[in-house]
Symmetry: C2
């Protein structure tokens, strides 16, 4: 079982409009809702890869009720007819709170395909609720093959929360992945997670460097045992104890990038628990990520595209010396 933590879960609402006109009244043509927050998105992709997962974090209010109901309906038996019936279960271990789960609204402009995102801040979590979560988390982490800590912190949670969760997972002997940003990432990485997956902006904010190879290595020095940076269309760059690699999709893909990073996390986590060599983990993460961009629905991945892309991802080893980066890389796959 893989445990994913989403402290700031969300009811993700998608609005389709003919065209979004700012400072005017826009009629929404179509509304859809689903359980959201990065860890929940990761669990959904893990389920599709056949990995049993448990989601935890906080949930409350009417939007929280809607989230749990939709999450239960997504599981095997409740899933939509178009999904594969072989999905592994996603178990709801969310901790109830007095506050109300936030909404996020993605307004998809059907003329241009562009998305405007509106994210509510989320409910304030009380110290007693955080204490209840920690008790539940320790029990869950002890049973997990891996733990993923994903996304932003809701109001009320101390900025060192991820550092605390990293230490608890490490104390239980469980590999732990951290995917967050800003100060929670800075503090969390110092607690020595097994893997961090920043995007280019998060990495630059953490290290002060916009040069990805230098920045990923700097992030390792800050405490990340392995660092995998997601560089958008350029794919992934990994700095690990076993070496450094770049992994890139065979071609640029166009579509909705929402959830592409979460799919990459699911690829890395599943590869970790399957003990795949790094190049295979990275290829899986890149193929899942690109297949997510290609899927029409935000945050879902196109299974056929994934199968097609997987063998075509180029993984190239990087020189161990940063100053020799321009030397010819070895081709792996």
């Amino acid at each position: 079982m893989i445990l994913t933590v989403t402290l700031n879960t969300a009811l993700d609402i998608t609005y389709r409009t003919a065209a979004l006109t700012p400072h005017a009244t826009n009629r929404v043509a179509e509304v859809s809702e689903r359980p959201g927050g990065k860890g929940i998105n990761v669990a959904r992709v893990l389920a599709a890869l056949g990995h049993e997962s448990v989601v935890t974090g906080f949930v409350g209010g009417r939007t929280g009720d809607a989230l749990r109901e939709l999450l239960a309906a997504e599981g095997p038996g409740g899933q939509p007819a178009h999904a594969a019936v072989t999905d592994a279960p996603v178990t709801d271990a969310l901790v109830p709170i007095a506050g109300t789960t936030r909404r996020t609204i993605a307004v998809v402009d059907e003329t241009t395909g562009d998305t405007t995102q509106l994210n509510e801040p989320g409910p304030t979590v009380t110290p007693a609720e955080w204490a209840a979560f920690l008790t539940s988390y320790e029990g869950l982490a002890a049973r997990a093959d891996a733990v993923a800590l994903c996304g932003s912190l809701p109001p009320g949670i101390h900025v060192g929360a991820y550092a605390e969760l990293v230490r608890l997972a490490r104390a239980a002997g469980r590999p732990v992945l951290l995917d967050t940003s800003g100060e929670p990432l800075r503090r969390g990485i110092a607690a020595r997670p097994d893997l961090v997956k920043p995007n280019a902006d998060e990495l630059a904010q953490l290290t002060g460097s916009r040069e990805p190879l230098r920045a990923t290595r700097d992030a390792r020095r800050r405490g990340g045992r392995s660092v995998v940076a997601s560089l958008g269309a350029a794919g992934l760059l990994a700095a690990t104890p076993d070496g450094s690699w770049r992994a890139a999709p065979p071609m640029a893909v166009r579509g909705n990038p929402t959830g592409a990073g979460d799919s990459a996390v699911a690829g890395l986590l599943s590869g970790l628990v399957e003990r795949l060599p790094w190049p295979e983990r990275l290829a899986r993460a890149v193929a899942l990520s690109a297949a997510t961009v290609l899927a029409p629905a935000a945050g879902e991945f196109d299974r056929e595209a994934y199968a097609d892309l997987l063998p075509r991802v180029a993984v190239t080893e990087q020189s161990s010396q940063p100053e020799q980066e321009s030397h010819a890389p070895r081709q792996h796959r």
Copy 2:
């Protein structure tokens, strides 16, 4: 008691953002929710004017539950501390449906003050639900001093629905006001409502004329016993069996125009049941409308501004001959 009908009620959500950037991720700084839909907004203003009102229409799902809970909390005893404690009650006579009440999202850009509105389409109402509503409506209308039919029709409701409701109110001998647009207005006005309150666009769409005096008189010929057009900052233009008037605020007001039209409807309705002469009804409607634009919260009105503006609204009688419009009008107040 005044009965207001809102067939397409809404949970009105307001998001305050530092600045809305299209095609980017926007963090919402502050979220507020309240019961919405034009008839509910009208009832809220009527309550503040001391008129008991009953709201009906459809309500369903989690957003419907939230709407009813917020509506109950708004009443005397439940209202926020800043509101006057003399408000008359608003009674909930909404009819439950299987579908889910829509949301509307107003994104207020705190840099510019501009509002971007996103309106969900609303739930589909079944024929059985419409039949249940009609039974309830007939009973309520028979007890009402006046009836207001407000806003758009949700999916599933036939386009002649307002015409049907106008006829039922008239059969019960109750004065009925219609505030809608498009084909529902065209059909509804033919059923001879006592009053219609189109805005400039709605009036132009109905009559084909952008010349307000000509268009309001045309709207009377189509069946409206009295027609009061809301012309934004220019105030109101009324064509009635007793004469025609223009009513304008003493100065241009800047602010959020959301709900200004609903406040005008409340002013007209309250003036009708109080049997005020037309110039006084129009002055009240204009002052309420301007005081709504001036209030910081969308759809509320600034009570001090209302009291200050009311004696300063200029109401001028219009010539009875459209071709003599340019002649000097008589000053009423």
